[in-house]
Each structure stands twice: as C-alpha cells, then as structure tokens.
C-alpha cells in the first residue's frame, strides 16, 4: 500500500514537472518575435545595430522570466517535492 502511495506521489511530481515546462512555449515564441523584429530594424537601419542588439538581448532576458517560473517549478517538483511529500506521508502514517 505504501509503495503505491509513494508511486502515486512520484508520478504526480513527474507529470506536474512536465506540465510546468509547457511554460517554455510562450517565451520561445516571444523571443523569436523579438529577434525577428530586431533583424528587420537592423535591415532598415544598419548603423543602429549595436543599440538594437543590446536592447533585444535585454528584452529577451526579461521575457524569459515566465519560462523560468515554469522551469523553477519543474526543478522543484523533480528534486525537492518528492522527498518532501514522502516525508509528509510517512509522518502522517506514524
């Protein structure tokens, strides 16, 4: 019975981590858009290349935040949560 419970916990954590990483889609599309627009801008005004590039990298790094939320949740679910939940279960049984 205990094995089943722990198995359910591990499966839940794994599936949750997988679902959390769906958050990576948004920043991917957004950063692609940003890079495309930056390319257009450089094509129109090649002399402003350094300004456009630095602004784009900054914007990309900030747009990445939502993806990183998903990543942090995923990492916590894989490395931290199983241990914690199993401990809670064992304490509850005692």
């Amino acid at each position: 019975m205990l094995e089943l419970a722990i198995g359910i916990i591990l499966a839940g954590c794994g599936i949750g981590a997988g679902l959390a990483l769906i958050a990576g889609i948004g920043p991917g599309i957004g950063e692609g858009n940003a890079a495309a627009k930056a390319c257009e801008a450089i094509g129109r005004q090649p002399e402003s290349k350094s300004d456009v590039t630095s602004t784009m990298i900054l914007g990309c790094a900030i747009a990445e935040t939502t993806g990183l939320y998903g990543l942090v949740v995923g990492i916590l679910l894989i490395f931290v949560a199983p241990n914690m939940f199993v401990n809670i279960l064992l304490n509850a049984i005692k």
Binding site: I57, L58, A61, I62, E64, T65, L68, Y69, L71, V72, I75, F79
Partner: protein, 297 residues
C-alpha cells in the same frame, strides 16, 4: 626606489586577498564535502549548523562562497585603486576609471541626477552577481544558484524601492494601491510583491538551469563514452573521451554569457524599479512646502 618596493609588496598582498578567498572556499569544499558517487544534482552543502533558540542556523556552502566573493571583490577594488594619481600612469587605474565611468553613465542615464549617488551600490550588486556566477568556473558552488542568496538581494532592492516610494508621503503610497478603482487593491498588492519574486526567480532560474543542463549533458556524455569506448584497454577505457569539448562550449554560454547577462539585468532592473517608483514631483512639492513652512516659522 624603496617606496616602489613597498608598493609592490602591498600589490602582491592585495592580489593575494583577491585570490585567497577562492582558494579557501575550494579547500573548504574539498575538506567538508563527502565524496559523491558520479554526478549528482544537489542543493548547497550544509557545512555546519549553529544552534539558535527558535531554529538552528545552517551555514551553507553558498553563504560561505558569497562571503568569499565579497572579500575577493574588496581585494580587487583595493588593488585597482592602489597608488592612483591625478594623471593616470598605470593600466589598472585606467581600468578602474573606465568601470566607474561606465557605471556612472548607466546610473545617470537610467535613474536621473537625483540618484547619482547610487552608482557604487549598482556597481556592487553587478560585481557580486557576476563574480558569484563566474565562481562556478572554478568548480565552486555558485551562490547565485541558491535561491536564498538571490532572494536576499531582491528583498534588499524591494526595501529600497519601498523607501523611495514612501518619500512622496505615506498617503500617496497607500492611495497608489487603490488606483484606478479600489477593487484593484489585491491585484496591485500582488503586483508589488511580484517584483522581488520575479527578480530573484529570474536570476536563480537562469543560473540553476545552466547548472542542471550542463550536469545532465556531462552525465550523458560520460555514459555514452563508457558504452562506446569501454572496450579500450586499461585506463583508456575508463576515461570519458566524449566529455572533452562540448561541456566547455555549454559552459561558455551558461556560465559566462548567462551569468554576466543576469548580473547586468539585475542591476539594470534595480535602477529602473527604484527610479520609476520614486515620485519625483510629489517629493519636490513636499520639500518646497516644508522649506516654506520652516521659513515662515
């Protein structure tokens, strides 16, 4: 001539102050970290705990490393500014002046003249963050991949933001939460709290994800190398040949580029949040009013 020799001795001492903290934390890691089996992804190692009345205080690897980074930066600053003169005649003075000028330009262009005294703080945040991320190149545990360290910086920045918002008076600050309609208060409060959370998660997530990905790639290459080249005789069969190369390129991106980028972004966001939160007109109006009241009294 004698003074020259003295200056050189001081120089060497300062260089030692710059390098020794890293050597010390490497020694601590070697001495206190138990030998693990293969590659594993773990959090910061707890070196020892200090018993405290409410809760034991754990002293972790990341705390020790970040203090060592601070010491090393102190050494760097003293080394760069040692023996400066009005007319620069050494390379390091030119480097120091370049750094100071760049940071002052950044602060002046992003925060305005009122905050020009913020330049040392911004430079400090930038350098601590950059050095912490780069310390993973030495095989140390980078303090920025520990949430606690980065959250500490973010809370410090949050306190500063709130302090400068309160400079416009308590009433406008509280009223700001009920804009545009009072129903929006919960969302505004969540938005306020989200600032330090997003700042710390951004930095921590970037450094940690780099660490996890490079560890996984190194592990995969090791396994692959043992499967493919395990038939070689003796030590050659044990040596993970495939691990040469690719992890270095990944480290170039994740450790160097990403680390420096995040340091810059953290500092830049600090400047932007503090200066946009500060109600300049309101503050000046109140100041003028107070001055007038003082004048008439």
């Amino acid at each position: 001539m004698k003074r020259d020799a003295k200056a050189r001795v001081v120089d060497w001492l300062l260089v030692a102050l710059m390098v020794l903290p890293f050597v010390l934390s490497m020694t601590l890691k070697v001495l206190l970290k138990p030998a693990g089996e293969g590659i594993s992804i773990t959090g910061a190692q707890v070196y020892f705990t200090i018993p405290m009345p409410v809760m034991d205080l754990p002293i972790t690897e990341s705390q020790v490393n970040s203090l060592m980074v601070v010491l090393s930066i102190l050494g760097l600053c003293l080394y760069l500014t040692h023996g400066i003169s009005v007319v620069p005649h050494s390379k390091r003075q030119i480097v120091a002046e370049w750094i100071v000028e760049k940071v002052q330009n950044l602060v002046n262009s992003n925060m305005g003249a009122y905050f020009s005294a913020f330049a040392p703080f911004i430079a400090g945040i930038m350098f601590i963050s950059a050095f912490s991320s780069l310390s993973s190149l030495l095989g140390l545990f980078p303090p920025t991949s520990d949430m606690n360290i980065v959250a500490g910086w973010a809370i410090l920045v949050f306190v500063l933001i709130t302090y400068y918002k309160l400079k416009g008076g308590l009433f406008p600050y509280v009223k700001g939460f009920f804009e545009p309609v009072f129903i929006f208060a919960p969302f505004n409060i969540i938005g306020e709290v989200a600032t330090p959370v997003s700042m710390s998660f951004r930095h921590y997530g970037n450094v940690l994800s780099g660490m996890v990905i490079s560890t996984l790639v190194a592990y995969a290459l090791q396994t692959l190398s043992h499967k493919l080249l395990g038939w070689l005789p003796g030590v050659l069969g044990q040596f993970p040949f495939l691990q040469v190369g690719l992890p270095a390129i990944l480290s170039l991106y994740f450790d160097i580029f990403s680390g420096l980028m995040q340091a810059f972004i953290f500092a830049l966001l600090t400047t932007i949040y503090i200066s946009t939160g500060f109600p300049q007109e309101e503050y000046e109006r109140r100041k003028a009013k107070r001055k007038k009241a003082l004048h008439t009294a």
